[in-house]
């Protein structure tokens, strides 16, 4: 039972990580609280769902959810955040909230106010390992989250782009005088982070077998709690915090029977972290700095 809950907690934590790491990346470079990131997640979910309905290929769904996410992300960055970059961050925050609401409402107008589900042929199997049951959908979610996180690790730690991104997120002007085209780097980072949010939308939609226009509401604010816990702008802190929140939620509800709503737990965790370690938990892991 406990192991089952740990497996479930890590699964959901992995999906949180896909959303939160992109958000942390954006905060790290532009210092913008990108609430509309959850809007990108909703768009990714619909793109993936309809691609699956049309083609019955989950691979194509993955591609389309990521592509839709990347495109929306670049548009948001180019036409909303960049023009506002010189103003106080509160203005981008308001713009971001407005954008989030309008994306969700557009989805509702286009696809209707109903919960949609995937065709029945997607992920029906189950695997038994002793007493632990792992659904096929869970396996796919874990596999793709791990692959995506490994990709984030590789890109940010090993490639020149990752090094340039680190430089840009510390000091845009200095990075520019050292030959780094910061606009290009920021666009690529947005596209990358948003593609992952799109993928997360698809995975959550497929895992719970439901896609609906307001599915981004909870992630929008929970992801903020996660990046605060992780240390604002620190993507590996966000990764650790995502797994922690996933585990805390599942274990509190499933094992400890805590009589609180599931979605409140991330915020309680955030408050506790702010009380005792306001700079976030990232400092606990030396060497995983920004």
């Amino acid at each position: 039972m406990l192991i089952q809950q740990i497996v479930n907690g890590l699964t959901i934590g992995g999906v949180y990580a896909l959303i939160a790491m992109g958000l942390a990346m954006v905060y790290g470079i532009l210092r913008i609280i990108h609430v509309a990131h959850a809007g990108v997640y909703v768009v990714g979910a619909y793109a993936g769902l309809y691609t699956y309905i049309l083609t019955h290929s989950f691979i194509l769904s993955i591609v389309s959810s990521m592509a839709a996410g990347a495109i929306i992300g670049i548009l948001i960055q180019k036409y909303v955040y960049f023009p506002l970059i010189k103003h106080s961050p509160i203005i981008s925050l308001i713009a971001s909230i407005g954008l989030f609401i309008s994306i969700e409402e557009s989805m509702r107008l286009i696809f209707g106010p109903y919960i949609k589900s995937f065709p029945k042929d997607l992920f029906k199997g189950e695997y038994h390992l002793g007493s632990v049951v792992i659904g096929q959908s869970q396996l796919v979610v874990v596999f793709l989250s791990v692959a995506a996180i490994a990709l984030i690790w590789y890109v940010t730690q090993k490639t020149r782009f990752g090094l340039a991104l680190k430089a840009v997120s510390q000091d845009i002007d200095t990075a520019e005088t050292l030959s780094i085209d910061s606009k290009k780097i920021i666009s690529i980072a947005f596209a990358f982070g948003s593609a992952l949010a799109g993928l997360a939308g698809l995975l959550v939609g497929a895992y719970f077998n439901s896609v609906f226009s307001s599915m981004g509401d909870v992630p929008a604010y929970k992801a903020l709690a996660i990046i605060v816990v992780g240390g604002m702008g620190n993507i590996w802190g966000a990764f650790a915090a995502s797994l922690a929140v996933g585990l805390i939620e599942t274990l509190s509800i499933g094992v400890l029977n805590v009589p609180l709503p599931r979605n409140s737990l991330a915020f309680i965790f955030m408050i506790i972290v702010l009380l005792f370690k306001p700079e976030g938990i990232a400092g606990l892991f030396k060497g995983l700095g920004k």
């Binding site: 020149r160 090094l163 340039a164 680190k166 430089a167 510390q170 520019e176 005088t177 030959s179 085209d181």
Partner: protein, 258 residues
């Protein structure tokens, strides 16, 4: 081959820069010859750093032109200037604090790849690149600090790091903005040696400097700026004995009325 007729690496023509109502630079023209060390001096607020910001593309001139290697580069963004071969340091040091010395230099070494999107995603820690960066670390005597986080270093070392980072661009011109200020005598001597070494490899150098003995030692030609205008240009010796320059620094000679 003519020896005396050297090529101009940087040519600034009638550059004007206006901030609000303030004329920070007023029709300044300066040319720097290939492989010379050129000095810019002047009182605080004379427009020296503004001039550097314009040469390195950080600011766009209100009017006037900048030529680099004979090509008009006025108004190009800083990353393009850097890619063409203009490296600079900042008056107030600006290392990437959360990165190691090695990573700081490696970020600038990427100049060889950033223009190409595929190459931008290549691995940065390949043996040949690491070797190149090690050479820069050795040349700038930063080897022992290579794994240290940049913000934990003393000022003199951070200054050298800024120079090392600019060198990784493989520059044709290096702009040093008061790199010598706040350093101890021994640090000044070390840095002077480094500047000469870099210059001997054919890199032209422009220094902004308040420390006159350093300027005397380093520079062949010096330009004096005051209130955004170029006052005089000449050898360091000529410049320090020029009455206009003396006036700019310590005021007009006045005779007590008796």
């Amino acid at each position: 081959m003519e020896v005396n007729k050297s090529k101009k690496i940087i040519e600034i023509q009638d550059v004007v820069k206006i901030f609000g109502g303030l004329k920070a630079l007023d029709r300044v023209s300066i040319s720097v010859e290939e492989s010379e060390i050129f000095g810019i001096v002047g009182p605080n607020g004379a427009g020296k750093t503004t001039l550097f910001n314009i040469i390195s593309g950080v600011l766009k001139p209100t009017s006037g032109k900048i030529f680099f290697n004979g090509k008009d580069v006025s108004g190009q963004p800083p990353y393009k200037m850097a890619q063409m071969g203009i490296g600079r340091t900042f008056q107030v040091v600006r290392p990437f604090s959360f990165m190691s010395v090695f990573e700081n230099i490696m970020a600038a070494y990427g100049v060889r790849f950033y223009h190409n999107i595929t190459k931008s995603f290549s691995k940065w820690k390949k043996e040949e690149y690491v070797k190149d960066v090690m050479l820069i670390l050795l040349k700038t005597e930063l080897f022992e600090y290579k794994e240290r986080r940049a913000d934990t270093l003393p000022l003199g070392v951070q200054r050298k790091l800024e120079i090392a980072r600019a060198l990784a661009l493989n520059p044709k011109v290096l702009l040093l903005d008061e790199s010598f200020s706040g350093l101890s005598f021994s640090e000044i001597d070390e840095l002077k040696k480094l500047v000469f070494n870099i210059n001997n490899e054919g890199v032209s150098i422009v220094v902004i400097e308040h420390n006159m003995p350093v300027v005397m030692d380093l520079c062949k030609t010096v330009a004096v700026l005051n209130y955004g205008k170029k006052l005089v240009q000449g050898s360091p010796k000529e410049v320090v004995s020029n009455p206009d320059v003396i006036e700019a620094y310590i005021g007009k000679k006045q005779y007590a009325q008796s």
